[in-house]
């Protein structure tokens, strides 16, 4: 009976379930837009690095791109989030969800860049040479030969990146973004009971990632069928 009462307190009293919905909404918004921003940054960085490696030109630009990836991957995301919120936007009045999108997008960009680079590098070097030998320029080799093949490896990996990001956004609670984890915290602070808020949020994360990984493996199978 006590359990039931706690559950009722957690969800129904004062319409507290709305916090969960708000949290879910923000979690999804941040993860979704961050992964888009991450893709834009990641494609850009990956192509810069690949082009510089290929042509052996623009060494400094390559160094900058490499540094970005290394710095992002070498520091905790919570620190990156705090630096962006408390240092870079310290004196700016900015929507905190937007801060989350920016921070996680910039973070994700480094990982997406590596995913794309790995996808491109997984294609046999002979393909680039064959492309060059028929008179193609770098961008034509990428566009018509390498990327159509690499996309099969890249898309599922990007899906996994999105799944990671959904969980990673929980770090946003730390600067006060009302995403899922923060929502459970808010409710727990009112009901003085952590059990249900945490369990419910855990279940929501789990279902979300379960659905997403099913989608990724579906996509993987589709992509493999296309080529065979």
């Amino acid at each position: 009976m006590k359990l039931f009462e706690n559950l009722y307190d957690t969800l129904i009293v004062d319409n507290r379930y709305l916090f969960f919905l708000e949290g879910l909404k923000n979690t999804l918004i941040i993860a979704f837009f961050a992964v888009i921003l991450g893709c834009i940054i990641g494609i850009f960085i990956a192509l810069i690095r690949n082009y510089c490696d290929y042509s052996k030109k623009f060494k400094f630009l390559n160094f900058l791109a490499k540094s970005y990836v290394n710095i992002i991957r070498g520091t905790p995301s919570i620190l990156q989030l705090m630096i962006i919120y408390y240092v870079i936007f310290a004196s700016v009045d900015i929507n905190i969800v937007l801060v989350g999108i920016l921070a996680f997008g910039i973070n994700s960009g480094a990982y997406v860049a590596e995913v794309i680079r790995a996808g491109i590098n997984s294609i046999d070097k002979g393909q680039i040479e064959a492309g060059a030998s028929i008179g193609f320029k770098y961008y034509q080799i990428m566009r018509y030969i390498i990327l159509p093949q690499a996309i099969k490896n890249i898309l599922p990996a990007l899906g996994n990146e999105f799944i990671t990001l959904v969980k990673e956004t929980s770090v946003g609670a730390y600067i006060g973004i009302v995403e899922l984890t923060k929502a459970s915290d808010i409710i727990a602070s009112r009901t003085y009971d952590y059990f249900f808020p945490l369990i419910i949020v855990a279940v929501i994360y789990f279902i979300l990632t379960l659905i997403l990984s099913k989608l990724v493996s579906l996509m993987e199978r589709k992509l493999n069928n296309v080529s065979s």
Binding site: D124, G126, Q127, E129, A130, A132, S133, I134, G135, F136, K137, Q140, Y144, I145, P148, Q149, S227
Partner: protein
């Protein structure tokens, strides 16, 4: 048509090509032979600048190959065929052949398809145009790779051990096609270990060892009257 001047290539500290000088005239069928690792592939790849020479120059019809716009135009006129075929696995046979002329705006898609079908007829693969490379035998793949180069109407074709990855029956199909191309007057540079083919096919043979051209001459001169001890040794090692 092709001039190679003092070409050198190093990978790190190892010199793979040492001062190579070479001239190829129109309609020549030049065969390059030599022991494994002596730099034959590297030479071929430097000729179309897939590999950047460390020193020296390559001129095609008087124009130096360099890192500029000309390079891409020259490569169109300089086909290359690889040991591993390097067909594009995500495209069908027909798409493989028409990709370059269409994307380079040399032909409309209809023109390219028409021309590709003529080439498929020539390589006896007219019934395979909708197949993907992995559905073909090695010999068929290599013939498609040759057609992919031919559609650009190259003036010079480079072949890097085009039959090394093939078993005997398939070798024959490809070598016959190459002989046909030679007869039609195409200028060709062929790296091969097929000595019987080299004897029949070549108008001139170059023997390389350790990054250098050691000897050159007609098939007769190379096989019947080898001058250098290295070439003698190499020919003996083949038997």
């Amino acid at each position: 048509m092709l001039v190679v001047k003092n070409l050198e290539k190093s990978f790190g500290k190892t010199k793979v090509l040492k001062k190579i000088n070479l001239e190829v005239n129109e309609k020549e069928r030049l065969v390059i032979i030599g022991p494994s690792g002596c730099g034959k592939s590297t030479l071929l790849r430097c000729i179309n600048h897939i590999e950047k020479p460390t020193k020296g120059k390559v001129l095609f019809e008087g124009i130096p190959l360099d890192d500029n716009e000309e390079l891409y135009k020259i490569r169109i006129k300089m086909g290359m065929v690889f040991q591993q075929f390097n067909l594009f696995p995500h495209l069908t046979v027909l798409e493989n052949i028409i990709l370059a002329p269409v994307k380079l705006n040399l032909l409309t898609k209809e023109e390219a398809i028409k021309k590709a079908r003529e080439l498929l007829l020539k390589i006896h693969l007219e019934d395979k145009e909708a197949n993907y490379p992995k559905e073909l035998s090695g010999g068929q793949m290599q013939r498609v790779a040759i057609a992919r180069a031919l559609i650009l109407e190259p003036k010079l074709m480079l072949f890097d051990e085009p039959t090394s990855a093939l078993d005997p029956q398939m070798k024959k199909e490809v070598l016959e096609l190459m002989e046909e191309l030679g007869k039609s007057g195409l200028t060709m540079i062929v790296v091969t270990h097929e000595m019987a083919f080299a004897k029949n096919f070549a108008s001139r043979i170059i023997f390389m060892d350790d990054g250098e051209i050691i000897e050159e001459g007609t098939p007769q001169e190379i096989f019947k009257n080898p001058k250098s001890s290295k070439l003698k040794e190499f020919l003996d090692s083949l038997i």
